[in-house]
Each structure stands twice: as C-alpha cells, then as structure tokens.
C-alpha cells in the first residue's frame, strides 16, 4: 500500500481548495469524481475539449462542486444557474455547459428556470444532487423531502408530496433524463458519459447521502450507515419505464436512463433561424 500526494483526478481539481468543505462521508464528492471520470474519458477519447467545458453552480453544498473543479466555472446566486448557463451556451455554443446544484437550488428557488430550460430543450447538462434536504442551511424541508419527514421547518412532518424530477423532465421535452445515485459510482459515471454526448437538455438527478443533516433527521448520522441506507434503497434497471421512476423513500428508487432521444435542441433551432437571417 502506498501513501501519495496526488490523485489521478487532481488535474481536474482545484487542489489548493482541498480538503473540501463537505462533511465526512458526504457523498457529493462521489458525484463530483464520477463526473470528472466521465469527462476525463471523453477528453481522452477526443470527444470533448477541456477548454470547452464550463461549470455553473449556485449556492448550497452540492453547488460547491463548481468550486472544486478546474474548468471554467461560474458561481452565482442561489437558484439562478440555468439562465446564466443558457447565456453562456448561446454565446459559446461549442462549450459543454454543466449546471450543478442541489434539490433546493435547482428545484425549489430555481424551479422556474428548470421548467423553461426543459421546455426549450436547452442544450445544457443539468445535474441535480438530491440529498432530499437543505444541507447548507441546516436541515429545512426541500421539494424532494419525503412526505411526513421531520425537518427543522416541518417539525410536525412534511405535508408536501415530493417532486418526481424524472417525471417532470420527461413530460417537458428534455432529450436525456436519468437518475443515478452516489452510492453507485460506476453507473453514475456511465450516465454522465452518455449525457456529455447529448445535444439538447440532459438532466441527471443524483441521489446523494447527507449524513450530517438529512442523517440527523432520520436518525442515521454515521457516514457508512447513511451511505448504506441509501444504497439499499437503490434498484438498478436498464431502461426503466416512466412508471418505475416513482419517487418514494419507503419503496426505494430505480436508477437508470429514463429517456434518451435526439430532438432538436434550442441551440439548433436558434441557429437555424439565425442562419437564414445572417446567411452563414
């Protein structure tokens, strides 16, 4: 066994910011490394250029992925990543623009931008790290918190039906919709790899374990137990149907690619219009 100073992924990481601010056992880091591996694979295959990747991150623990990766990376206000990323994509269409954020960031306060990006089939890769809670602010309810769960702002139980992100995305027009889990990094990497190759919108919901905060609410704060609790709820399917996307903490979650099509994306439509106008 060896102890070293460099990790093979370090070339893609702002190592000066390590160790990360994430809690021990927080699986956001696994989401990040799975993504970096997928990117690395595409770069090595010559399918992606490192200087043509832009990350956009908002505010939240999950959004901090954008803080650690060594690519062009823009942070912005809580919830406002998608319009910012959209503008970058329009002006730098050769870039792969990747939005990362939490369930609160993208689905609560950022919900409208998500809705319209989906509708437009906007050429973005949107990664929602779903830990089912507001981690950074200390444990408030999120749109993906299971029904009836205790949180600090629903101390008598969450009265709201959680959002099924997969169903939303499939109903609206994204080209690629998948669910992954931080507990299944190999599969996650494959999903990311595929998503990186898409035109139009690719949305990936990644279930993630937050031992510190969500863990406290469900009484499982040990990182390993927290990890295993989530892992045990995951079912892997090859081409799951939309009905299998059901989002229910009790019944567990099916991961896999729910939708993979090749409709024209927004950028395609826009350049078609502008091409006829500008003649190039």
């Amino acid at each position: 066994m060896a102890v070293a100073v460099e990790h093979p992924l370090d070339k893609y990481v702002r190592t000066e910011k390590l160790p990360t601010l994430w809690c021990p056992g927080c699986t956001i880091g696994i989401v990040m490394t799975s993504l970096l591996r997928a990117i690395d694979q595409r770069i090595r295959e010559g399918l992606l250029r490192r200087d043509q990747i832009t990350f956009v991150g908002g505010i939240g623990c999950s959004a901090r992925i954008a803080m650690y990766v060594r690519f062009d990376s823009v942070r912005t206000a809580h919830g406002r990543t998608i319009p910012l990323a959209t503008a970058i994509k329009i002006l730098r269409p050769e870039h792969k623009v990747i939005v990362v954020g939490g369930d609160g960031d993208i689905c609560a306060i950022g919900g409208n931008h998500l809705l319209h990006a989906l509708r437009r089939n906007m050429d973005l890769m949107i990664i929602i790290v779903n830990n089912m809670i507001y981690g950074m602010t200390g444990g408030q309810v999120s749109p993906t918190t299971p029904l009836k769960l205790y949180t600090t702002t629903t101390p008598y139980g969450n009265p709201e039906k959680p959002l099924n992100i997969i169903r939303l995305a499939c109903s609206l027009g994204a080209n690629f919709v998948a669910r992954g889990s931080a507990t299944h990094p190999h599969i996650l990497q494959q999903i990311f790899y595929k998503a990186l190759g898409k035109r139009g919108l690719a949305l990936i919901e990644v279930l993630s374990s937050c031992p510190e905060i969500f863990g406290r609410h469900i009484g499982i704060t040990d990182p390993v137990k927290s990890f295993m609790t989530l892992r045990d709820k995951i079912k892997v399917k090859n081409n799951p149907s939309l009905d299998e996307s059901e989002y229910d903490w009790e019944k567990g979650f099916v991961i896999g690619v729910y939708l993979d099509k090749d409709d024209p994306g927004y950028i395609d439509n826009l350049s078609l219009l502008y091409k006829s106008l500008r003649g190039f």
Binding site: E16, V56, R80, P83, I88, H116
Partner: protein, 374 residues
C-alpha cells in the same frame, strides 16, 4: 455619423448597438419594451442575440452569464422588473461583471400607471440591492443624452467592471429629438480586452482597483466567486479580506467621480446665478420652461442639470453653487434626491420642490412653487 429624429428609447437601443452590444436578455414591460423590440429586429442581423427569458430574474442572470463570455450585454426594464433584478445586480457588483441596465421609470409603486412617468426610483437605482455598494447611475434628459450616456454606460461598465444603470423614464422614452448618431468608428468604444492597453498608455480613469477580467473560453480555469474572496477568488470569511474587498469595490467607482460625473449648466444669458434649480431627467424639460418664465422678472435663475446621479463630484457642486443664494431641487417624486444634495451642500438653503405628475410637470406649477420661496 448621421442625424436622426428618434425617441429616447430608440436612442438607447441605437447607442447600445454602436457600443458593441452582443447580447440582450429581457422580459417585456412598459415603457421599456420598445428598446427590446427594436434590438430584437436589429441585433441578430449584426451577429448578436436578443432573447426573451421567462422573467426578469432569468434576464439579469443571463446578462451576467453573457458578460462572462466577454460579450457586451444589457437588459431594459421598469420598476417591477428592476425590483426583481436587484439580487442579480448585487451578484454583478460582487463578481465585478460589466453590464448595463436601462431602467425606464414609470409611475409606481406596484404596477401604478404603466405608461406614465415619474422619478420615484432614483434611490432604488443607487441603493436598491443588498451589499451597500452603490453603482454608477446616469440619467439622460432627452434622446441625445440617452444616446451619449448609453455609450458612456457601456464604457464605464467595461472599464470599471461594474453594473451600470441608465435611468430614464416614460416621458423620455417617448420624447423625440434630433440625435447625432455616431457609428462604431466615430466614438471611443472600450471593451475589457482593451483595458490593459488603456492602463498602460495612461488615461483619465483611475484603474488601480480594477483587476483584469478573463472570460469563459479564454483558457480553462476562470473561477467566479459570489462569496467574499481574496484577490485569487478564494473564499475567505475574514474581516481583513472583507475590508479589502469592500473598499476596493467602493473606491473603484468613487475614485472615478471626475470622469463619471456629468452635468450641464444653463444660465440662460444671466450673468450671475442667484437662484439655482437642480434637476435631472425628464423634469428638466419643464424646469427649462419654468426658468424662462421666472427670469422674465429678472430673478437670476439658472439650472444645474445632473446627468450622473452616482457618483457625484462634490467639487463641481461646490464650485457651481459658490455664489448662489438659494437652491431648489425639482423632482417628480416625493422629494428623494434632494437628500443626497443636502448631504453635500451643507451651508446653503436647499429647497425641495416635488411635483408629482404623470406627464411632464406643468412649468407654471413649478414657477408658482418656487415663487413661494422668493
């Protein structure tokens, strides 16, 4: 160079194009929409993009995103929309993102009278976003000024890496005038790529507190941080770093007050100026007429019209008012900007004449209100 007869809104759009605008994001709102609509026609033909977003929040963040590709970017809006943009402006202040917001004021609060005028939002334009760092605000009073100040707004935003508000109103939006339109080659157009050149060759701007801006696509590792950060964009929650950051951002604007502060002085043929009216924006139109009337009785009135509301060059204020007895501040609101002036001109009578009017205030009313103090 050509002469045209155009509205204030059209002048803004024309000047934005001349300034090199590449990206406009917006959400329609009266009385700003025709800026958007004119650009939607014109800009795509010149290689730019004009996109309607789902709301004003998306619009301002899209403008920020565009700016980080080193494209010149703007939006246009009015009260309710500006209110939705203030969070984004605070982000732009912190991330030092150049952008221009054309704020076409209308009568408020709330939805008020969408098509009619008012100058209610002067303080919101200056101070309306969290973080307590005011940004440059230019206020044209006619189409030509709308044109010239729009160009200045773009240059300022690029040179100082700051959001800039161009504060117009419903009356100016529909005011027409003879405008000298200069094309790209005929005016000095600066972008952030040329700042280093500017810095080296020396210029009237104070650039010590401005850092070079690298954009998406320039290499592969720009990092834009909205948290308190040091010179390397690393998050550092210490008083030390916070102080350095705050004061630098503050100085960056205020130390350029001499370049940024614009005004015009009108003495209408009087030798001396015993009574001064300070005003700005569309109200100037009425004031100029009122003064003509007032001066009929040899009352020695002159007008000091502000074209920059922030930052102010106090020196000019002191100079211009040295021999003045009485100062009147005429505004189409409950009396707001007069406070700013009172905080500067401390040894003079500064009288607030606030005339709320959905149209150009009636000159006769101004005359009457001023005469009460003579």
């Amino acid at each position: 160079m050509r002469i045209d007869y155009i509205s204030g809104n059209r002048a803004i759009a024309e000047a934005a194009i001349a300034s090199g605008l590449k990206f406009f994001a917006g959400y329609p709102i009266t009385p700003s929409s025709d800026i958007f609509e004119y650009l939607a026609e014109e800009l795509p033909r010149r290689g730019g993009y004009v996109i309607q977003f789902e709301d004003e929040l998306a619009s301002i963040y899209a403008v920020i995103g565009a700016s980080w590709t080193c494209s010149k970017a703007m939006t246009a809006t009015s009260g309710p929309g500006f209110s939705l943009m203030v969070e984004g402006i605070s982000i732009a202040v912190m991330t030092e993102t150049p952008l221009v917001i054309a704020y076409i004021m209308r009568a408020g609060p709330a939805t008020g009278v969408p098509t009619k005028t008012g100058q209610y939002d002067v303080f919101q334009a200056e101070y309306g976003f969290h973080g307590g760092l005011p940004i440059p605000v230019f206020a044209p009073s006619n189409p030509q000024e709308a044109y010239d100040l729009t160009i200045k707004a773009f240059n300022t935003s690029e040179i100082l890496r700051t959001p800039v508000v161009l504060l117009s109103d419903a009356s100016i939006a529909n005011m027409f005038g003879k405008v000298l339109i200069r094309e790209a080659g005929e005016i000095e157009i600066i972008d952030r790529r040329s700042i280093e050149i500017l810095r080296k060759k020396g210029c009237e701007w104070s650039l010590d507190d401005v850092y070079e801006m690298k954009c998406v696509g320039d290499g592969y590792d720009i990092y834009v941080e909205t948290l308190t950060h040091d010179e390397k964009n690393i998050y550092r929650p210490t008083t030390d770093v916070q102080r350095r950051l705050m004061w630098r951002l503050y100085r960056k604007i205020i130390n350029n007050r001499e370049v940024l502060f614009e005004y015009s002085f009108h003495n209408y043929g009087n030798k001396r100026c015993r009574n001064m009216i300070i005003t700005y924006g569309s109200t100037f139109s009425s004031v100029s007429e009122a003064v003509r009337e007032l001066n009929k009785n040899e009352e020695d009135f002159c007008v000091f019209k502000l074209k920059t509301l922030y930052p102010i060059n106090e020196k000019i204020f002191y100079e211009k008012t040295r021999d003045v007895d009485k100062i009147f501040v005429v505004e189409n609101n409950v009396g707001l900007y007069v406070k700013e002036i009172r905080s500067i001109l401390r040894d003079k009578d500064v009288i607030s004449i606030s005339v709320i009017d959905l149209e150009y205030p009636d000159p006769d009313e101004i005359v009457e209100r001023v005469r009460e103090w003579l």
